[in-house]
C-alpha cells in the first residue's frame, strides 16, 4: 500500500452501528476529494454476530476494497482480537498494521508490535454528550479521523447530515466526535500518510442506487420488485424516490407477479422493469421466455448472491450465469449485461432500457452483492441520453403485421390504444400477424420463418455492439478475462503482476451474452488465457471456451467473499507458472 492511500475498518456486532459508522467515514473521504470504496462484511442477522465495514480511500481511483489495514475501530473485544491477529483470515481481508482505536474498558488481549494501541474512553466521552450509547461510535470516528489527519470540520458536517441536520441529536454527535478527535491528538501519534484533503466533493453511492439512476435516466416509469438481498438496495432507492422521479413502484404478491406486471406495462407502452436476486429470478423464469416470445421489451435486474438455494444471503458470488443464460424453455433472443463498477452500472442500466425496446426482447442486468452493496466514488454523472422507443407502427398503418419478417428481425410494435392496429400477442407460436399456428394446424415452414426472425435480432445486436474493453492487454503474454464486478480487482492484480515483470493484461467483459466476437481476436496469440470469476464450476469460463474454442484456465473463489488484489495476483502468478 502506498502512503497516498488509507484503509479504515470498523468491526463490531450487528446492531452496534458498524455500517452507519462506516458510511460516515466513507463520506468524509469522498467529501475531501479522495476516491473511496467500501466493503461490508455482514451476516444474515439483525443483532449479534461479527460484522465489519471497510473503507479504502486514495488520491488515485480506488478499484476494490484493497489489501492492508491502517486504522481499526474495534467496537468490542472480539473485533479487536479478530482484526489484529494475523492468524485469523476474514475471507482474505488483511489484519491490522497500524492504529487500533477501542474503548479503554477493553483489556486482556494479545498485543502485536506493529500496532499502536489507542485506548480511548469512548463510552465515558459519549456519556458527556448524550444518553444514547451508540454515540461512542461517533467518538471513535472522531479519533480515527484524527489519526489520519483529516480536518475535523468535514467529519462534523458529515455527522450532522447523517443525523438529520442541525437538531440536538446531530449536535450531540458532532461534539462527541470532536472530543474523540481531540483526545486522539492529545494522546497518540498520527499515521504516517501523505493524504491531501481538498474541497472537490465526489459522489458516493452503491450499485443499487446506480441501477435506479440508470433506469430513470433511461426512461423508467414503473418498477415492480420483491424484496430480496442484494436486489433490495435498488428497490429501496427507487421506492424512496418515486415522487422525485415520477415512478410507479409496487411490491406485489410474488416475483411471478412482478415480472408479469413489468411485461404488462411494457406491452402497454410504459417503460417498466423488475428485479430480484437468484431465488426470485428463478420464479420469473417462465415469464422471461414469454417476453421473448411475445417480443415485449423487458429489463430484469438480477443481483447475484451465494447460492445454491437460499445460500449465503449476505455474501457475494457470480453463480447465476448459467441460470440467466438458460432461463426459460426453448430458444429466444436475450441480452445479458454485467456492469463492472458503480458508474458502469448506471451506464449499462440506462442502455438496457433502450436495448430492450429496440430489440423487443428481455435484457438482464446482472450484478452481485459486492457491486450492489458497496459504495464507490463517482467524479461526475453524464445524464445526456436519448431514449429510443424502437420501431413503432403508425396508427391505422396499412398491412400492419406485428411480427413482420424483416431483414434485421425487428418488427413494428403497436401499443394498445393505437387505432387500427389491433392484434393478438400470443405465448403460443404464431404467424407474423400474431395468429396461433399450433392449434388448428401446425406449419413447419412458418415455424422456421418466425423462429429465424426472432433470433435474427441477436445478429443485428451483435453487429451494433461496442468493442470490448481491455486493460494493459496490448503486449500481454497472459490474458486475464473477467466479467462483471471483478474488473477493479483484476486490474490491480494485473498491476501487481506487471510490477513483477509478468506481462499480463485484462479483457473486461460487461456484455456477457451474446459475447462480442472481437473477444476471439483479443485472445489470439497469448501464452495463457486465465478466466477469473466467483463461482465453483467456472460458468463464464465454459461460455468463453464454447464460444471461441480457446484453451483456458480458471481462477475461482466461492467462499462468499470478494477477491483481494494481492491474493488474486498470487494465484494468477501460480497459474501462469504452472
Amino acid at each position: 500500500m502506498t502512503s497516498e492511500e488509507v484503509i479504515v475498518r470498523i468491526g463490531g456486532a450487528a446492531g452496534e452501528g458498524v455500517q452507519s459508522a462506516g458510511s460516515v467515514v466513507a463520506k468524509s473521504f469522498s467529501r475531501t476529494g479522495l476516491y473511496a470504496m467500501t466493503y461490508n462484511y455482514y451476516q444474515d442477522i439483525v443483532r449479534g454476530g461479527q460484522s465489519w465495514y471497510q473503507v479504502r480511500a486514495s488520491h488515485n481511483k480506488v478499484r476494490n476494497q484493497g489489501d492492508g489495514l491502517d486504522v481499526l475501530i474495534a467496537l468490542n473485544i472480539d473485533a479487536l482480537v479478530r482484526h489484529t491477529n494475523p492468524e485469523i483470515n476474514e475471507g482474505g481481508a488483511s489484519p491490522l498494521n497500524g492504529i487500533a482505536i477501542f474503548d479503554t474498558a477493553l483489556t486482556g488481549f494479545q498485543k502485536y508490535d506493529n500496532i499502536q494501541y489507542c485506548a480511548v474512553p469512548l463510552a465515558e466521552i459519549a456519556g458527556r454528550h448524550s444518553k444514547v450509547s451508540l454515540v461512542k461510535n461517533t467518538v471513535a470516528i472522531g479519533a480515527a479521523m484524527a489519526s489520519i489527519g483529516m480536518p475535523f470540520d468535514v467529519v462534523g458536517d458529515v455527522i450532522r447530515d447523517t443525523f438529520g441536520g442541525k437538531g440536538d441529536v446531530a449536535e450531540q454527535n458532532v461534539s462527541a466526535a470532536k472530543e474523540g478527535f481531540e483526545y486522539f491528538n492529545d494522546h497518540f501519534k498520527k499515521l504516517d500518510k501523505k493524504l491531501k484533503f481538498n474541497s472537490n466533493k465526489k459522489y458516493l453511492l452503491g450499485g443499487g442506487e446506480a441501477i435506479g439512476l440508470g433506469a430513470v435516466n433511461g426512461g423508467l416509469k414503473m418498477y415492480i420488485g420483491y424484496p430480496m438481498t442484494p436486489a433490495s438496495s435498488a428497490l429501496h432507492y427507487i421506492s424512496s424516490h418515486a415522487k422525485d422521479f415520477n415512478l410507479f413502484v409496487k411490491v406485489p404478491e410474488d416475483e411471478i407477479s412482478a415480472i408479469n406486471m413489468a411485461i404488462g406495462a411494457n406491452y402497454a407502452g410504459l417503460r417498466a422493469m423488475t428485479g430480484s436476486s437468484g431465488g426470485g429470478f428463478s420464479l420469473m423464469v417462465e415469464a422471461l421466455g414469454m417476453a421473448g416470445m411475445l417480443e415485449i421489451p423487458l429489463v430484469v435486474y438480477e443481483a447475484q448472491r451465494s447460492g445454491p438455494s437460499t445460500g449465503l444471503p449476505t455474501k457475494t458470488e457470480q453463480g447465476d450465469l448459467n441460470l440467466v443464460l438458460g432461463a426459460s424453455q426453448g430458444d429466444f433472443p436475450r441480452i445479458v449485461l454485467a456492469p463492472r463498477n458503480v458508474y458502469d452500472t448506471f451506464l449499462l442500466t440506462r442502455e438496457a432500457m433502450n436495448l430492450a425496446e429496440k430489440y423487443q426482447t428481455p435484457v438482464i442486468v446482472m450484478s452481485d452483492l459486492y457491486l450492489a452493496e458497496h459504495l464507490e466514488t463517482v467524479d461526475k454523472f453524464d445524464f445526456n441520453f436519448k431514449i429510443d422507443h424502437g420501431l413503432r407502427a403508425q396508427d391505422n398503418a396499412k398491412n400492419f403485421k406485428r411480427y413482420e419478417y424483416t431483414a434485421n428481425g425487428i418488427s413494428p410494435r403497436a401499443i394498445p390504444g393505437q387505432a387500427g392496429l389491433m392484434h393478438n400477442e400470443d405465448s403460443d407460436e404464431h404467424s407474423e400477424t400474431g395468429d396461433v399456428v399450433s392449434d388448428a394446424e401446425t406449419d413447419p415452414k412458418l415455424r422456421i420463418a418466425i423462429m429465424d426472425k426472432r433470433m435474427r435480432k441477436l445478429d443485428t445486436y451483435v453487429k451494433e455492439m461496442p468493442p470490448t474493453d481491455t486493460y494493459m492487454l496490448g503486449d500481454a503474454d497472459y490474458a486475464i478475462v473477467q466479467w462483471g464486478s471483478t474488473q477493479g480487482v483484476v486490474e490491480e492484480a494485473v498491476d501487481i503482476l506487471r510490477s513483477r515483470g509478468i506481462k499480463a493484461g485484462a479483457v473486461e467483459v460487461n456484455r456477457v451474452f451474446p459475447l462480442n466476437p472481437d473477444i476471439g481476436k483479443l485472445l489470439k496469440n497469448r501464452k495463457k488465457i486465465i478466466v477469473v470469476e466467483s463461482n465453483y464450476t467456472g460458468q463464464f469460463n465454459r461460455l468463453l471456451r464454447s464460444e471461441f474454442l480457446v484453451t483456458t484456465s480458471l481462477v475461482k473463489k466461492y467462499d462468499g467473499e470478494a477477491f483481494y488484489p494481492g491474493a488474486l495476483a498470487e494465484e494468477l502468478e501460480q497459474e501462469i507458472k504452472r
Binding site: 458516493l204 411485461i263 389491433m422 400470443d426 396461433v436
Partner: protein, 282 residues
C-alpha cells in the same frame, strides 16, 4: 358508431361445438359496443386453457400469456394506461389453482379491471382432469376413484379477498350473462364474474341440463350487504343462484398511489436527471 361487427376476429374459434365459451365471447362482442368502447381501447388478457384462447378470436388488443398469470399482466396494463378497458379472461384451473395468489391480491387491490372466469369445473385443454372447482366424487383422468379434495368456492373467496363486484353467470342464459358482464365492465374497481360454462366434451356431470334444472336468478335486496352476498355465494346443490351478488364502491389501488393517483403514467412527464438529482450522494 362502434358495433359488434367491429369486434369480429379473423380467426375462427377452435372450441368444441356448444362449448360455453362461445356465450362469453359473444357477450363481450355485444356488450363492449353497447358501452361505446372501441376495439383499439380494449385489451383482453388471458392465461392458458381452452377459454384462454379467447383473445385470438376477438378483434381487440389481445394478450394470451401464461397459465395463471393473466391478472398481473392485466393489472399493469390498466395501471400503465387507465384509459384502456381491460378484461382478464381464463378458466377455473388457470385462475383458482395456478393463479390463486394473483386472484386474491388483485381483488384486494381493487384493480379497475373485469375478471371473467369460464368455470367448467374441469381441465379441458389438457383433456379432462379434475380442477379446483370439480365436485367431490367427480371422476376424471386424474381422479379415477372420485375427487376427494374440497371444492373451491370462487365467489366466497372473491368476497373474502375484497372484490368490489362479485357475480355468477351461466353460459346457457346469454342475455342474463350479457347484462352481468356489462355491469361488471361499468363497475369501477375489480369485478369478478364466475361463469358456469359447461365443457361438453369432458365434463359429463356439470352439463347444460344440470345447470338448467338448478339455476335461478338472484336479485339482491341490497348489493352492499356483504353477509347476504356471502350467504347466497354459499348456496350450491339443488338450487344454484346466478346474478350479481355484491357491489360496493371503493377507491381502486391506483387512485391512492402517490404518483399514479394524480396523473396517468402514460402521460406523466419523464424526469430529466440533473446534478440536483444526485446531490444526496455528495
Amino acid at each position: 358508431m362502434v358495433t359488434t361487427a367491429d369486434f369480429n376476429g379473423t380467426v375462427k374459434p377452435d372450441w368444441c361445438p356448444a362449448c360455453g365459451n362461445f356465450a362469453q365471447l359473444s357477450a363481450l362482442k355485444i356488450v363492449l359496443p353497447e358501452l361505446g368502447i372501441e376495439p383499439h381501447n380494449t385489451v383482453v388478457v388471458s392465461g392458458i386453457g381452452c377459454s384462454s384462447n379467447l383473445p385470438e378470436f376477438i378483434k381487440a388488443y389481445g394478450f394470451h400469456g401464461l397459465h395463471g398469470r393473466a391478472l398481473p399482466v392485466a393489472s399493469a396494463v390498466k395501471w400503465a394506461n387507465p384509459k384502456l378497458t381491460v378484461i382478464a379472461y381464463g378458466g377455473d384451473g388457470d385462475g383458482f389453482f395456478e393463479g390463486t395468489q394473483h386472484f386474491y391480491h388483485t381483488a384486494k387491490r381493487n384493480v379497475d379491471i373485469t375478471y371473467i372466469v369460464s368455470d367448467n369445473q374441469i381441465f379441458g385443454l389438457t383433456t379432462g382432469q379434475a380442477s379446483p372447482t370439480s365436485e367431490i366424487g367427480f371422476k376424471s383422468k386424474t381422479t379415477p376413484y372420485g375427487n376427494i379434495e374440497e371444492t373451491t368456492n370462487p365467489l366466497t373467496f372473491g368476497l373474502a379477498a375484497g372484490a368490489t363486484f362479485v357475480a355468477r353467470g351461466f353460459s346457457g342464459d346469454p342475455k342474463h350473462l350479457q347484462e352481468i358482464i356489462k355491469r361488471g365492465i361499468q363497475h369501477k374497481g375489480f369485478s369478478f364474474i364466475d361463469v358456469m360454462s359447461p365443457c361438453v366434451t369432458f365434463n359429463k356431470l356439470n352439463t347444460y341440463d344440470y345447470f338448467r334444472k338448478r339455476v335461478y336468478k338472484y336479485e339482491a335486496k341490497d348489493l352492499t350487504d356483504f353477509a347476504a352476498a356471502y350467504k347466497v355465494s354459499e348456496e350450491w346443490g339443488d338450487r344454484i343462484p346466478i346474478g350479481i351478488f355484491y357491489e360496493k364502491s371503493a377507491r381502486s389501488y391506483i387512485d391512492m398511489d402517490p404518483v399514479a393517483g394524480n396523473a396517468s403514467m402514460m402521460e406523466i412527464e419523464t424526469v430529466k436527471l440533473s446534478e440536483k438529482s444526485v446531490e444526496e450522494f455528495l
